[in-house]
Amino acid sequence: MITRKVRKWEKLPGKNSFCCDGRVMMARQKGVFYLTLFLIVGTCSLFFAFECPYLALHLSPAIPVFAIVLFLFVIAMLFRTSFSDPGVLPRALPEEATFIEMEIEAANGNVPAGQRPPPRIRNVQINSQIVKLKYCYTCKIFRPPRASHCSICDNCVERFDHHCPWVGNCVGKRNYRYFYMFTLSLSLLTIYIFTFDIIHVAMRSVDYGFLNTLKETLKQTSALLNPVFTVLEVLVCFFTLWSVVGLTGFHTYLISLNQTTNEDIKGSWSGKNRVQNPYSHKNIFKNCCEVLCGPAYPSVLDRRGLMQDDPAGAAASSSASSSSSSASSASVTEPQTTKPKAPLIPNEHTPEDAKPSIAESPEKSPSPKEEPPENFPPLASPETDEHIKVSAHL
């Protein structure tokens, strides 16, 4: 058997796509991201080509310079948001999954036959508020507080905000500040281009009105096309303005309260009977500082590390691997121990998410299904989780 060394990203479960040998990590559907890029680059190119020469000449050369700086910042933030790891939690290795199963079994005690076992929830007290930690059947872990499973990327993400198709990635703990800076700088850029387009149109109409020399008519011929592009830019900016500025405002509100979009949608901290947000410092400035200027969290998903590629499917035996599943042999699992395993029975209390885009539907099957006898829990992978709900034991 020839084993070769592969990068860990090649064996990662989940529905991400990787580029540049694991340096870039995105969702699979990238179409809307390309649209975003096209709109930004296209509109700015038109602005630089047609508006800027006139404005630099008649107003100030600082205008295009500032526009370039702003444009580069927007692109940098977009790439940073789209290409970085949002804070994906690696799935539990078989031993850890078994250990957790044992703890759950011990906690549940004896469940009478025919009765559904209680939901897999752990209660923790955070700053004197009770927070429920839910069990993720795909990743085989109890999700940390504020983490959620993204069904589009099929990963649990820490401090999950939302999955943004415009940036082609999830927005989570690690890239939230880049996402916010992207929306903020894009709002500024849109307002900037919109304003100077209006100024340009106003100034041109003033020029045409007063100056009627031959030179101006010659200029007019070449300037005939300009209004078309200006109108195009104004239209794009107008529609972008409402959505992006609105989004920036919404996220500013969330940051000041130290909430995520996910929590806001589910109404986790609102309402009379609900707990108060235990993560908020109760101080807007402190909340903003924590979210935007807090420490830069490292990625716990080792994408570029090397591991042995064992075709027999013993990917879990690679020593340094923290998140691996034998994608090539999804249904073949090796017995790690000879201990009996707990049945994995989902129930109606398994995690439900308000937004359909972040809901994990395979977990909601109400009745346990019989499966070919396996004495061990299957390694976590999207394929096995879709089909295997119960591992019949003994």
């Binding site: 820490e158 200027c293 830069a296």
Partner: protein, 167 residues
């Protein structure tokens, strides 16, 4: 033949035919019950995260019962507490982290291409600490402490290397 003081006797009998012996030979092999129920080569004990003070990285200092026979409670608590302190240092919200954040923002985060973040520096410290602990304390006791970063900062795992029983 008298069999005494064995937990379990496996009796194998074989008949020798075509020889002078006219009685069967009995081989007795002994196993102790404990040996039969011996766990596999290495098993892991997991120390979970402590979320009582929020989402900051902390691990429970409760001593797991599986390590009762192998490790000192004091030693365990000291190790986990030191790890907790190191992670607290990495995630500390203070003037230094704010300055780093603001500076990075002004340079469009390109500064991180040439500079290591504070968190990464502390992670290196943690890796060194764990290596030291393994060499000095845990390896002599037949234990291996794994760096939580390899488990997604979810658990600290102690691997108990029990030598496989040779039959």
């Amino acid at each position: 033949m008298v069999v005494k003081n064995y937990d379990i006797c496996c009796v194998y009998s074989c008949c020798c035919s075509g020889s002078d012996t006219s009685f069967p030979l009995i081989f007795v092999q002994t196993h102790s019950l404990q040996d039969l129920h011996q766990p596999t080569a290495s098993s892991k004990v997991f120390v979970q995260r402590d979320y009582s003070s929020g989402t900051h990285c902390r691990f429970l200092t409760k001593f797991p019962s599986e390590l009762d026979s192998r490790l000192d409670k004091q030693q365990f608590e000291e190790t986990v507490q030191t790890l907790n302190n190191l992670y607290a240092e990495a995630e500390k919200l203070g003037g230094k982290s704010y300055l780093e954040g603001c500076l990075a923002c002004l340079t469009a985060y390109t500064i991180f291409l040439c500079m290591e973040t504070h968190y990464e520096k502390v992670l290196k410290k943690i890796a060194k600490y764990i290596k030291d602990q393994n060499e000095k304390i845990y390896a002599p006791r037949g234990l291996l402490l794994t760096d939580p970063i390899e488990r997604g900062l979810r658990v600290v795992s102690f691997e108990t290397n029990i030598k496989p029983h040779l039959k």
